[in-house]
C-alpha cells in the first residue's frame, strides 16, 4: 500500500501540474477568443486563486447565507424561516448588543495601538548594530506562541497578584483584577493582543522601513528638517501601503478575535466577543442558522468599514513605485552617538517587556507538578513562584516521551512544507495578476478577495468539510495542503499585492519590449525582487500551519497522523481524574516556538534588505 505521505505528495504534484498547464491554456484560449492582453494574462495569473476562492470561499459563504434564513442545528436538515433570525438579532437579542459593543471597543484600541506599537518597535529595531537580530527575534517571539498557551500565560500574568500587578506594586500602584473585573477585561485583552500582534506586524513594517530611501532623509536633514518632520513627510508616506494593510487586516483580525477569549473566563459577558458568541450559538447551542445570520451581519459591517478605508486610502496611501528605493539596498539612516545610546536603551526596554511572558513560559516548563500546584492554588500566578528551584529540565523529556511527538513533528513539517510552497506560489501569482493587469472585473474580484477574509470561519467549517468528504479525502493530509495551491486564502494574496504595487514597472516594460513572456517576467524579474515579502509570507504561513489546531482536528482521524498542536492539546484538555499538565504544555510550546525563531534568525537578513535587481 502506498504511504499516506507519498499519496498526498503525488496528488499535490498532480494538482500543481494541472494548474500550471491550465493557466497557460486559459491564457491562450482567452487570446484566441479576442480577449485583451491584460484580461487574458490577468485571468491566467488569477486562475488558481479564483478556483480556490469559488470552491472554498464563495460556495461556503453562499451556503452560510442560505442557512442564515433557516433553523439549522448542524445535525438535521434546515427549515426555512425567512428573516426571523435577522429580525431577532436587530430588535431583541440583548447579548448581540453586548458582544457587538465589546468587540467594537476592543477592535478600536487593538488596531490603533497595535499599529502604533508595532511601528514604534519597527523604528526601534531598524537600527543597524551588532546583536540587533537577537532583539528583533525577541520581539518577534511572542507571535509564534500557540494561542492556547498565550491565553494561559496571560491569565497568570493578569492574575490579581500576578506579574503585571507585581510590577505595578513596585511603583506603589495597586493593580486592578484585570480578567476578574468587568471594567478591566477589555483593556486586558487589548494589552494581550498587542504583544501577539507586535511581532508579525513589526516584521512587515521593518521590511518596508528598511527600504525607505536614506538619501531623501539625508537631503531633508541638510535642509534643516527635524526627526519628526522627516518621519511624517518621508517615512510615513513611503510606508503607507503597509499601514493600510495593517489597518485592513488588523480590523478584520480584531473584530474576529476568537481563540484567546475561548480560554479565559471573565465575569458575566464582559469578555464575550462576537465570533466566540457565534461559535457558542452555532456549535455549543446548536443554533447554526442564527450563528450564520450573526456572521452575515458582521460581514456587512466589515465590508462597509473596509470600503470606507479603501475610499479614504486614495488620499493617504502612496503606491508610486520609487526606483530610488532600489539603490538603498537596505541601508538605513543612522542616528548620532548620543541618540544611538538612547535608541539602544529603548530597544532593550521594549525587548525586555516582550520577553517577560516568554520567561514565564520557560519558567513554568521547568516547574514540577507540586511546584505548579502552589502557583495555581495560591492565587493563579503569584510573583514568589516566578522561578522555582530546583529546576526540572526533565519535564522536556517527560512531555516528549508521553506521546509520539517525533511522529507529530514529522507530520507538522510535512504539512507546513507543502502548504507553504503552494501558498507562496499561488498567492504571488494571484497578487501579480491583481497588481499588474487591468483585467475586466478586477474590482469585483478584488472585492471577492477581501470578502473571503471577512466571514468567520466557524460558520464555513461544515460546508468546507462536506466538500472534502465528497472528494473522499477526509482522513488524509490532503485537505490541509491541497487548498494551498488554490491561493491559500486571501491574506497572503493581499500581502503580496500591497508589495507588488510598490515595485517599479520599468524593468517589466523593458522586458516586454524584448519579447519576454508574462511568466518569464514574473519568475525572472518579479520574484527575485520579492524576497522580502516572500520571507514575510513564509513566516506568517509557517506559523499558521505549525500552530493550526482546527484543521488537523477536523480532517485527521488517526493519532499517527496528528500534528504537534494536536499533541499539545492532550496536555491542556481537562479529562476525568487527570491533573492538568501545564508544565508539559509549556515545555512543548517552548520546543514548538524554536523552529520559527531559528528560521527568523537565519533569514531576517533576507527580508530586511531588498532583493536582487
Amino acid at each position: 500500500m502506498i504511504s499516506p505521505y507519498l499519496a498526498t505528495l503525488l496528488r499535490f504534484l498532480f494538482l500543481a501540474t494541472a494548474l500550471g498547464a491550465g493557466t497557460v491554456l486559459l491564457y491562450r484560449l482567452l487570446r484566441r477568443c479576442q480577449a485583451g492582453e491584460d484580461t487574458a494574462a490577468g485571468y491566467a495569473f488569477l486562475l488558481p486563486w479564483l478556483l480556490g476562492a469559488v470552491v472554498f470561499s464563495l460556495v461556503p459563504m453562499l451556503l452560510s447565507l442560505g442557512l442564515s434564513f433557516t433553523r439549522y442545528n448542524v445535525l438535521a436538515s434546515p427549515d426555512w424561516i425567512g428573516w426571523e433570525h435577522y429580525a431577532r438579532i436587530l430588535s431583541g437579542d440583548p447579548i448581540f448588543l453586548t458582544v457587538a459593543s465589546n468587540t467594537a471597543l476592543f477592535a478600536l484600541f487593538a488596531v490603533v495601538l497595535g499599529i502604533v506599537s508595532s511601528l514604534a518597535a519597527a523604528m526601534l529595531m531598524s537600527l543597524d548594530m551588532r546583536g540587533m537580530g537577537i532583539f528583533r527575534a525577541v520581539v518577534y517571539l511572542p507571535s509564534v506562541i500557540p494561542a492556547v498557551s498565550t491565553a494561559l500565560l496571560w491569565r497568570w500574568i493578569f492574575a490579581p497578584n500576578g506579574l503585571v500587578n507585581a510590577l505595578l506594586a513596585f511603583f506603589n500602584i495597586s493593580g486592578p483584577e484585570w480578567f476578574d473585573n468587568p471594567d478591566w477585561v477589555i483593556p486586558a485583552f487589548v494589552i494581550m493582543s498587542l504583544q501577539g500582534a507586535c511581532g508579525n506586524n513589526m516584521v512587515i513594517f521593518l521590511a518596508r522601513i528598511r527600504a525607505v530611501d536614506v538619501q531623501i532623509h539625508e537631503a531633508a536633514a541638510l535642509d534643516g528638517a527635524g526627526l519628526w518632520a522627516r518621519f511624517r513627510h518621508i517615512t510615513l508616506p513611503q510606508i503607507s501601503p503597509v499601514i493600510f494593510y495593517h489597518l485592513v487586516t488588523g480590523l478584520i483580525g480584531s473584530l474576529m478575535i476568537f481563540t484567546q477569549p475561548m480560554f479565559i473566563q471573565t465575569p458575566g459577558r464582559s469578555g464575550l466577543f462576537y465570533v466566540p458568541y457565534i461559535y457558542q450559538t452555532g456549535w455549543e447551542q446548536g443554533a447554526m442558522g442564527y450563528a450564520c445570520a450573526l456572521s452575515w451581519i458582521l460581514f456587512i459591517a466589515l465590508m462597509l468599514l473596509t470600503m470606507l478605508l479603501l475610499v479614504t486610502s486614495r488620499k493617504w496611501v502612496h503606491y508610486e513605485s520609487q526606483d530610488a528605493l532600489m539603490i538603498t539596498q537596505g541601508r538605513v539612516l543612522q542616528p548620532g552617538r548620543a541618540r544611538r545610546s538612547l535608541w539602544l536603551a529603548g530597544v532593550v526596554l521594549f525587548s525586555a517587556v516582550m520577553l517577560l511572558p516568554i520567561v514565564w513560559m520557560v519558567s513554568t516548563s521547568l516547574k514540577s507538578q507540586p511546584q505548579l500546584r502552589q502557583v495555581l492554588g495560591t492565587a493563579r500566578g503569584p510573583m514568589e513562584h516566578f522561578v522555582d528551584f530546583p529546576l526540572h529540565p526533565e519535564n522536556y523529556a517527560d512531555a516528549w516521551s508521553a506521546l509520539p511527538f517525533g511522529r507529530f513533528v514529522w507530520n507538522s513539517v510535512f504539512i507546513a512544507v507543502l502548504a507553504i510552497g503552494g501558498e507562496l506560489l499561488s498567492a504571488s501569482l494571484a497578487a501579480y495578476g491583481f497588481a499588474r493587469f487591468n483585467l475586466r472585473g478586477r474590482r469585483w474580484l478584488f472585492g471577492l478577495l477581501l470578502a473571503t477574509l471577512m466571514i468567520p470561519p466557524v460558520v464555513m467549517m461544515v460546508p468546507i468539510f462536506l466538500i472534502w468528504t465528497r472528494l473522499g479525502l477526509v482522513g488524509t493530509f490532503d485537505p490541509l495542503v491541497l487548498a494551498s495551491l488554490l491561493g491559500g486564502g486571501g491574506l497572503y494574496v493581499f500581502i503580496f499585492h500591497q508589495f507588488f504595487k510598490t515595485l517599479p514597472q520599468e524593468l517589466e516594460e523593458a522586458a516586454r519590449i524584448d519579447g519576454a513572456s508574462h511568466a518569464r517576467i514574473f519568475f525572472r524579474i518579479i520574484l527575485p525582487q520579492s524576497l522580502p515579502v516572500m520571507m514575510v509570507v513564509f513566516l506568517i504561513s509557517f506559523q499558521a500551519h505549525w500552530n493550526d489546531f482546527l484543521g488537523p482536528l477536523l480532517y485527521l482521524d488517526r493519532q499517527e497522523q496528528y500534528t504537534m498542536t494536536l499533541g499539545l492539546r492532550y496536555f491542556q484538555a481537562n479529562y476525568l481524574g487527570q491533573e492538568l499538565r501545564w508544565h508539559w504544555l509549556m515545555a512543548i510550546t517552548t520546543v514548538m516556538a524554536l523552529p520559527t525563531v531559528v528560521i527568523f534568525l537565519l533569514t531576517q537578513r533576507t527580508f530586511f534588505t531588498r532583493g536582487r535587481r
Partner: protein, 422 residues
C-alpha cells in the same frame, strides 16, 4: 493550434486524470484483511487513550475475525469534531456522547435506536436492571434507548485530613447535614499567619459543583423531568441557590470567584482548601504529600441525600453499515470499557471496583454509597443553551455579588430560561 498548446493540453489532461484516479483510491478504508472496519470516536488524555487501546481495543480486535475497531481520538474540542463529522456525512460508527448531548442528538436522527437490540439480548451488558437509574436516564429519549452509559461518576467529598486535624475538626460522618458542613467549614477557614488574609479555606466552588446538588438535597428539582417545568418559583430551589452563594458571602468558608478562577480544584491540590467536592474517579485521594479521605456529600436539612453523577454514553451512528455486526462489536466495546473505566454504571461491576482499579480501594465503599443516591441532569434538547443562560443570568451574579439574592435574579431570567426549555 501551436504545438506547445498540444503539449500543455496533454500535460493538463494527464495530471488531471492522475489526480482524479488518485483521489478515487483515497479516503478511509471500509475493510482490511477481510475484516469490516468500525471507527470509534472518543475523547481522553494521552495515557487514557493508550490504555483504551491496549486494555480494551487490542483484545477485542485480536479476538474477532470479522471486524476491527479503529480509534479516532480527539485530544480536545471533541463535540465540534463529532458534530462536523456527522454533518459532513462521515460519522464515526461508535462514539462517546456526554450525557447532556444524548437528548440533543437523538431527535436529529443521527443515533441508532438500540431499544430492540437491548430488549432482545441476554447479554449482561445489555441488562438494564443492572444499571443505576441515574446515568441510564439521559440515555432514554422519547421512550427509546439511544446509548448505554460506560461510566457513572458520582460527586464525593474529598477532605484534607491534616487540615482537619490542625483545626481540631472531626472528619465528616454519615450524619453530616448542611449545618455541620458549614460549621466545620468555618472552623477550617483560617488566617494562619495573622496577616489579615485567609490562607486556608474550608471549601472551594465556582460553577462546580453544580447548584442542582444543593437543590436536590433540599428536596426540590430545578426542572421537572416529566413536564420540563422550571422550578424557579419553588421556595426550596431558591433557598438552595442562596445557600450556595452564602458559602462565599455569609459563612465565608469558600473564597470569592476571583480567587478560585477556572482551576476549581487547584486550591485543594495545593493544600490550601480543606474540603472539595470532586468526581469519584478523580485522583484527589492520592495526591502526593497530602493525606486525603473521601466521604459522601452532606445531606440536606431534612436528611435528603443526592449527588450529581457525571456520565457518558456509547452510541452507534444511524448511518452505520452492517448493523448486526456493528451491534455485536458495540456490545464488546461497551463491556470492555465498563471493565476498564471506573466507576462502571452497573451494580454488578460496582462491587468489583477495587479489582478494576486497586488504587481506588480506600474510597470504594464511599463511591458505592454515593452511587445509590446519584442523579443525572434532566434530559433537554437545548441543555447547553439552558445551562449557559442559567449560569450567566442567575448563578454567576449570585456568586459574585454579595447583595444579590436568588429570587429577583430568577424572576428576571425566567422568561429566557423558559424559552430555552421549549
Amino acid at each position: 493550434m501551436r504545438r506547445s498548446t498540444w503539449v500543455y493540453l496533454g500535460l493538463f489532461l494527464t495530471a488531471g486524470g492522475l489526480l482524479a484516479w488518485s483521489i478515487s483510491t483515497a479516503g478511509p478504508e471500509s475493510s482490511r484483511d477481510g475484516k469490516r472496519i468500525f471507527r470509534f470516536a472518543c475523547w481522553g488524555a494521552a495515557k487514557e487513550i493508550a490504555e483504551l487501546r491496549s486494555r480494551v481495543l487490542d483484545p477485542i480486535n485480536a479476538a474477532s475475525d470479522r471486524y476491527f475497531i479503529e480509534l479516532t481520538p480527539a485530544p480536545d474540542d471533541y463535540r465540534r469534531k463529532l458534530t462536523t463529522m456527522i454533518a459532513g456525512r462521515s460519522a464515526p460508527d461508535f462514539f462517546y456522547l456526554s450525557q447532556e448531548d444524548i437528548a440533543s442528538f437523538a431527535p436529529q436522527g443521527v443515533l441508532l435506536d438500540l431499544t430492540d437490540a437491548v430488549e432482545q439480548s441476554n447479554d449482561p451488558v445489555l441488562d438494564l436492571s443492572d444499571y443505576y437509574p441515574g446515568p441510564l436516564g439521559p440515555c432514554r429519549w422519547n421512550g427509546r434507548i439511544w446509548a448505554l452509559p460506560w461510566i457513572a461518576q458520582p460527586v464525593i467529598l474529598y477532605c484534607n485530613v491534616d487540615l482537619f486535624e490542625q483545626a481540631d475538626v472531626p472528619l465528616p460522618d454519615d450524619d453530616w447535614r448542611w449545618e455541620d458542613f458549614v460549621r466545620a467549614g468555618q472552623k477550617l477557614t483560617r488566617d494562619t499567619n495573622s496577616d489579615g488574609r485567609i490562607d486556608i479555606w474550608g471549601f472551594a466552588q465556582n460553577q462546580w459543583p453544580p447548584v442542582e446538588i444543593w437543590i436536590r438535597q433540599n428536596g426540590a428539582r430545578l426542572i421537572d423531568p416529566q413536564t420540563h417545568r422550571l422550578g424557579l418559583q419553588d421556595r426550596r430551589v431558591l433557598e438552595a441557590m442562596n445557600f450556595k452563594a452564602d458559602l462565599i458571602h455569609k459563612y465565608r468558608i469558600a473564597p470569592p470567584l476571583s480567587r478560585v478562577g477556572q482551576a476549581t480544584n487547584a486550591l485543594f491540590r495545593a493544600g490550601r482548601c480543606a474540603m472539595f467536592m470532586g468526581g469519584a474517579s478523580d485522583d484527589l485521594d492520592r495526591l502526593e504529600g497530602l493525606e486525603v479521605r473521601a466521604f459522601v456529600l452532606p445531606a440536606g436539612p431534612d436528611g435528603t441525600r443526592a449527588t450529581f453523577a457525571w456520565s457518558a454514553g456509547l452510541a452507534i451512528s444511524a448511518s452505520v453499515q452492517d448493523e448486526a455486526l456493528a451491534l455485536e462489536a458495540w456490545q464488546k466495546l461497551l463491556a470492555g470499557i465498563q471493565r476498564w473505566k471506573i466507576p462502571a454504571p452497573r451494580r454488578s461491576l460496582a462491587s468489583l471496583l477495587e479489582q478494576i482499579e486497586p488504587r481506588k480501594a480506600p474510597s470504594a465503599d464511599v463511591i458505592r454509597q454515593a452511587m445509590e443516591s446519584m442523579y443525572a441532569p434532566t434530559s433537554l434538547v437545548n441543555y447547553a443553551r439552558f445551562d449557559n443562560l442559567f449560569w450567566k443570568e442567575i448563578e454567576e451574579p449570585l456568586l459574585r455579588d454579595p447583595s444579590a439574592r436568588a429570587g429577583p435574579l430568577a424572576k428576571r431570567a425566567a422568561p429566557a430560561l423558559r424559552e430555552a426549555l421549549e
